[in-house]
Symmetry: C2
Subunit: 373 residues, 2 copies
């Protein structure tokens, strides 16, 4: 369900494994619909379209979190295998539900509170200190629906924004992190799970800019702690498929920031950097097949997002980028370039992290037009 780049990048392992793969896309121009043979056109909130998608499918799964839970429950009632199931997925759809569930199972989170008005935010800020993070419980992505507010007037401005349908305001303590991490696992219905190396994610303006695998300077114990946390969350919330647990690391402790129950931007490096990509393991997991090895194939991998810039024609960068770096791997999503939009990514794997970072950043900057040599 969903025709974005995650569905698009799932096509390669589906083809390799001989798995018939159908995508629901709203428009024929969507990223995945351009390349996948079997496309069902329709909206993700149109029950009739979801039924057409599911007809003849063994399993349905997701490119995004936006399918209404009630629709998914209807599909399940019709006997369709929905993975992850709607009750698990709801934790990735509603941040208040997620915070409550994680708090109930003693997973460390930033302090949080549902707020309805400015005085609630002020009371919360008195406990945790300014700045405070304000989020809409539903409908946010890539930094949208999240604000960091320094004081009461700023909070008042944010609260004047109309809430999406069914959403609440969520106030959270702002964690002074030394780095952000992502712990990805795959889990199958019969309970097998594998944990990928924990990665560092670097955000810019709320959007993932860069991923370094494994996270530098994390230490084996902290990495295992993050993996165990993700495995525990997956088990306790009954997640199937890929789960990404985004974490704040304040140098002392880890705190869960967000959950995503699908392949995730923080795992794009696995296409070249791991024995089994997140896209393949997502398919294997939701089909209840034995999972593939998540082991890294090289000491380091760096993924840098190509964010839309001034150059509308990404292909024009190919001669320069490919000639300069024959080891670089390019992934474009077939999306129209718009400022700040994720339109592709590059990955480099190897032994020398500084070299990989320089190469990955150079290529991404050249694609966007930020540099011209």
């Amino acid at each position: 369900m969903g025709g974005g780049q995650l569905a698009r990048m799932s096509a390669a392992p589906a083809t390799a494994l001989g798995i018939d793969f159908r995508v629901l896309a709203a428009e024929p121009e969507e990223s995945a619909a351009q390349v996948i043979h079997d496309v069902v056109l329709g909206r993700h909130d149109d029950m009739e379209a979801l039924r057409r998608l599911a007809d003849g499918c063994q399993v349905v799964t997701f490119d995004h979190e936006h399918v209404p839970p009630a629709h998914l429950e209807q599909l399940e009632a019709m006997g369709v295998a929905v993975r992850p199931g709607p009750s698990a997925l709801f934790h990735a759809q509603d941040k208040v539900h997620m915070r409550q569930a994680l708090t109930d199972i003693d997973v460390p989170c930033p302090r949080w509170r549902v707020v309805e008005a400015l005085d609630h935010v002020e009371a919360f800020a008195e406990e945790v200190g300014w700045p405070v993070v304000l989020k809409t419980s539903r409908g946010g992505y890539d930094g949208k629906g999240v604000w960091v507010v320094d004081d009461a007037p700023a909070a008042a401005d944010v609260l004047s924004v109309p809430l999406p349908a069914g959403a609440q305001w969520l106030a959270e303590e702002r964690i002074e992190f030394v780095q952000e991490l992502s712990a990805q696992i795959a889990r199958s219905p019969h309970g097998q799970a594998v944990a990928y190396p924990v990665v560092r994610t670097v955000q810019a303006n709320g959007i993932c800019a860069e991923v370094v695998a494994p996270a530098p300077g994390l230490g084996a114990e902290r990495a295992v702690e993050a993996q165990e946390l993700a495995l525990r969350i997956a088990r306790d919330l009954n997640v199937t498929g890929m789960l990404a647990v985004e974490l704040f690391d304040d140098g002392q402790r880890l705190y869960v920031n967000e959950l995503a129950m699908r392949p995730h931007n923080s795992g794009h490096w696995t296409i070249e950097g791991a024995r089994t990509s997140q896209f393949e393991n997502h398919l294997r997991a939701v089909l209840d097949l034995p999972l593939g090895s998540p082991a890294a194939v090289a000491p380091h991998a760096v993924m840098v997002n190509i964010l839309g810039g001034d150059v509308p024609d990404l292909y024009s960068a190919y001669r320069h980028v490919m000639a300069r770096d024959p080891g670089l791997k390019v992934h474009l999503y077939g999306k129209e370039v718009r400022p700040g939009r994720k339109v592709g990514h590059v990955t480099v794997v190897g032994n020398d992290l500084d070299d990989l970072l320089a190469r990955g950043r150079h290529a991404a900057d050249y694609f966007t037009g930020a540099i011209d040599e």
Copy 2:
């Protein structure tokens, strides 16, 4: 042109690079037509179908060698970029033409002669000794169109087989090889070329069974000799795209057996085992983009073909094969299982060649039903 597994496996890099990729397939059930979005249905010898394929394409290239040269010349005359060009491709379509061209540029070949009748074969055998290899100059593949004959009566039987249209009989010296090799290169129209590690190929009944990269025990000097031979052939015959040069190694010298101007079974290991797969470099080469690194990503890679056996449903092997070996990579082609037909392959990469061989062979044998545990 062509909807087989080579086109199918080209879809992944075309998608990653955002290259619009169209395939000509005779039937919608063909391997590539099942998974690629943009399918033109038609036969490879139907000029009208070739025109429909080429309409709007920047470049056309090949999944197989069977498109009539005259058709390709017509396309070129219409301004279509055909890569490799028909005059280069003809060397891979007609073995007599290939032998003559290689002999003209002093590339070592088994001794050869065009023969029309039994007495020609007998005269040739008197020079080179029995057994003699008899081939049809056109239309053979996967061991079809090739016979090893021990004596004159056996040769007479072969010569009674009707020749394909336009074909001649070619007699060749049988090389007592210690191993068969494949040297693959990619070459672009502007003349850039890269050489992949030289691999050992193991044939069974004339069909490639197994590939080991790099070829064990080949020694650096011989490997470079094979690479230089392939690079020279590509340059002198003006090949663009991937070229596979199949070689006999008799322990002393190398002899060219066959040429293929497309991605080749001996390069399937590059999907996981090389920085840039043969499928990606074929696309980059025919589009005249800078080529990707052909370097291996691990000390050894082993590819074992899944040849059709007794088990019609390959998917039924997944639970066992995947649970037993989480590092194994499986590629199925979506083809109906028929005895001896190439229906998929498995690849393993790593440090311990014996371990890789055992794992790859086990998985392939399990898929075909030769073993059941």
